[in-house]
């Protein structure tokens, strides 16, 4: 059994949408990204959540490895008949999504309220 560790996300259910907030301001470091990924996938695989709204409003920095996790999560949800939406992305981080053209693949909205209405 793996040692217990702190969660890297918090989440709340608003209707049938699970809104996720990140504990870390900087989503980098392989180990951290792996833990965040594990926590997110647990929501889908173990807790059966199908509608995830990820709130990035506290995130100041993320690396390409984090993008990889988001892509996998998007694919996992799509495969399960669910949907992933991202919100609260800063202008600088949005540059990263636009540069990599992931803004075309992932659903990105301005804020939580818009996100909740987009499912």
């Amino acid at each position: 059994m793996s040692a217990p560790r702190r969660q890297r996300i918090t989440f709340e259910d608003i209707g049938d949408v699970t809104v996720v907030h990140f504990i870390d301001k900087k989503i980098l470091e392989e180990q951290n990204i792996q833990m965040i990924g594990d926590d997110l996938f647990k929501l889908v695989d173990e807790l059966g959540r199908k509608k995830l709204l990820l709130d990035f409003s506290t995130v100041e920095f993320l690396s390409s490895a984090a993008l990889g996790k988001l892509i996998r999560l998007h694919q996992r949800l799509a495969g399960a008949g669910g949907k992933l939406v991202l919100c609260g992305i800063s202008k600088t981080i949005m540059e990263i999504f636009e540069l990599t053209k992931l803004d075309k693949m992932l659903k990105i909205v301005k804020d939580e309220k818009t996100g909740l209405n987009s499912f």
Binding site: E29, E30, F61, S63, S64, I71, Q75, T92, T100, M105
Partner: protein
């Protein structure tokens, strides 16, 4: 602003934890040189990608290998060099991650981000060394 220039070279174990320590050092150096938030962000992002590439892909996570990091800062620009001990690679052979056939791949975006956020990115020594330069923003 008075003219200044200094350079630092450090060799670290092939370990991302060690790399993190140097990242913080470089960030502090840029703040001390009064580079703005945007420039520091660019440096952090490019350096993160370059270090992960060196540790994971270049040195293949081999704990016996090392990564050499050199950074120099002047009034006009900063430059960061990252060198691994791997077999090298051809950066031109990295597939375009924005191509439709690659867009859903979970990896392969590091070089794209480095090139976009730094003023200049050059590879040398058969791909073992990357030199990234950022001119001070005028904003």
């Amino acid at each position: 602003m008075p003219e200044f220039e200094y350079a630092v070279e450090v060799v670290i174990a092939n370990d991302l934890g060690e790399a993190r320590r140097i990242q913080r050092e470089i960030e502090e150096a840029l703040h001390a040189a009064e580079y703005g938030d945007r420039d520091v962000f660019c440096a952090k992002l490019a350096l993160e990608e370059a270090l992960v590439n060196a540790v994971k892909h270049g040195n293949r996570m081999d704990p016996a290998k090392h990564v050499t990091i050199r950074y120099d800062v002047t009034t006009e620009r900063f430059r960061i060099q990252v060198c691994d001990e791997g077999d090298g690679f051809d950066p031109e052979s990295v597939p375009d991650p924005t191509a439709p056939e690659n867009i859903e791949r979970p990896c392969g975006r590091g070089l794209l981000l480095m090139r976009r956020f730094m003023s200049q990115v050059e590879y040398a020594e058969g791909g073992n060394r990357v030199v990234m330069t950022k001119l001070r923003s005028t904003e």
